[in-house]
């Protein structure tokens, strides 16, 4: 694609994003990313697309205002808009869990500073609140149940790692927990982000 074609697409996307401003941010982002993918897929079917090919594709996609008007029908402004996005809840919930489990060291529990222990408990509790709020926002019931179960399993696994790691290998606890949570967040990212694989 020529730089000119690229700037035509970027300009179109900028106008679309502006028009979608009135929608809940999650929805606006979702719509824009699908339209962007539509354009990319349509372009990939044409070898060496010219500028007029690009303009034809954009004509078929339609004017940004038309898409925004259609979106306003599907998402009337009376629909509750969530101020905190799902992926923000998921991210901070898991980060708090990781922090709590890392900070709460069963091997040195007896000598652990009570303040530190309290912070670990608070983090675990806040993380659990965020995770359950997040799960309640998942609309598809089957998906919600599956994610709730795997949240539970992952937290249990992390707790088991915490307790089963011998004190001599205490240094490994942090990295192992980090790998566990990062892998889990990565594997479930489509639930919250639905962005490119």
């Amino acid at each position: 694609m020529t730089p000119k074609s690229e700037s035509i697409v970027n300009d179109y996307m900028r106008r679309l994003e502006q028009q979608l401003n009135g929608l809940p941010p999650d929805v606006a982002r979702d719509v824009a990313s699908q339209v962007r993918e539509h354009i990319a897929t349509a372009l990939s079917a044409i070898p060496n697309p010219s500028e007029s090919d690009v303009r034809n594709i954009l004509d078929e996609v339609g004017p940004p205002q038309t898409i925004a008007r259609a979106a306003a029908v599907d998402f009337p402004s009376t629909a509750p808009a969530h101020r905190v996005s799902l992926h923000t809840l998921a991210f901070w919930g898991y980060v708090l869990w990781f922090g709590a489990l890392w900070g709460y060291n069963p091997a040195s529990f007896a000598t652990m500073d009570p303040g530190m222990a309290l912070i670990a408990y608070l983090m675990a509790f806040t993380g659990a609140v965020l995770v359950s709020v997040k799960n309640r926002r998942i609309i598809d019931k089957r998906l919600r149940n599956r994610i709730s179960l795997s949240d539970f399993v992952v937290a249990g696994t992390a707790l088991a790692i915490d307790f089963l790691t011998p004190p001599s290998l205490g240094m490994l606890r942090g990295p192992v927990l980090l790998v566990l949570f990062v892998t889990y967040m990565y594997r479930t990212r489509h639930v919250y982000w639905d962005q490119a694989a």
């Binding site: 719509v31 339209v35 898409i67 998402f75």
Partner: protein
């Protein structure tokens, strides 16, 4: 195309949502494919892009889920698939639609004849 009557727009988009679900009944499709079939078989979409807000809504309702799959061209594509919830909603719509269509057709037909 101008849409003078907002109720007409709503009805059209409402029906179109179920057309999307019906097109996914045989199996998952990617966005461009879905949009092309939809605009070829129905005159319901003036601009292809207007299908995407609808897909966002259907996904939010849990009627459709998306998954990324590799394409022959290399880049991964978002595929839309009907969920169990969506399949149930489509079944309900099919029944309701048949009754609604027959009712409207009946009134329209009678309005043209003398026994209205």
């Amino acid at each position: 195309m101008e849409e003078p009557d907002p109720l007409m727009t709503q009805m059209r988009r409402g029906a179109l949502q179920y057309c999307v679900l019906a097109l996914l009944r045989p199996g998952p499709r990617y966005g461009l494919e879905l949009v092309k079939v939809l605009s070829e078989t129905t005159s319901l979409t003036a601009s292809e892009g207007t299908v995407y807000p609808m897909l966002s809504r259907l996904r939010l309702l849990g009627h459709v889920r998306t998954e990324w799959r590799d394409s022959p061209q290399g880049a991964a594509r978002r595929y839309y698939a009907l969920t169990e919830v969506g399949a149930g909603a489509l079944d309900d719509f099919e029944i309701a639609w048949a009754g609604f269509r027959d009712g409207v057709d009946g009134i329209l037909r009678r309005s043209r004849s003398n026994d209205a």
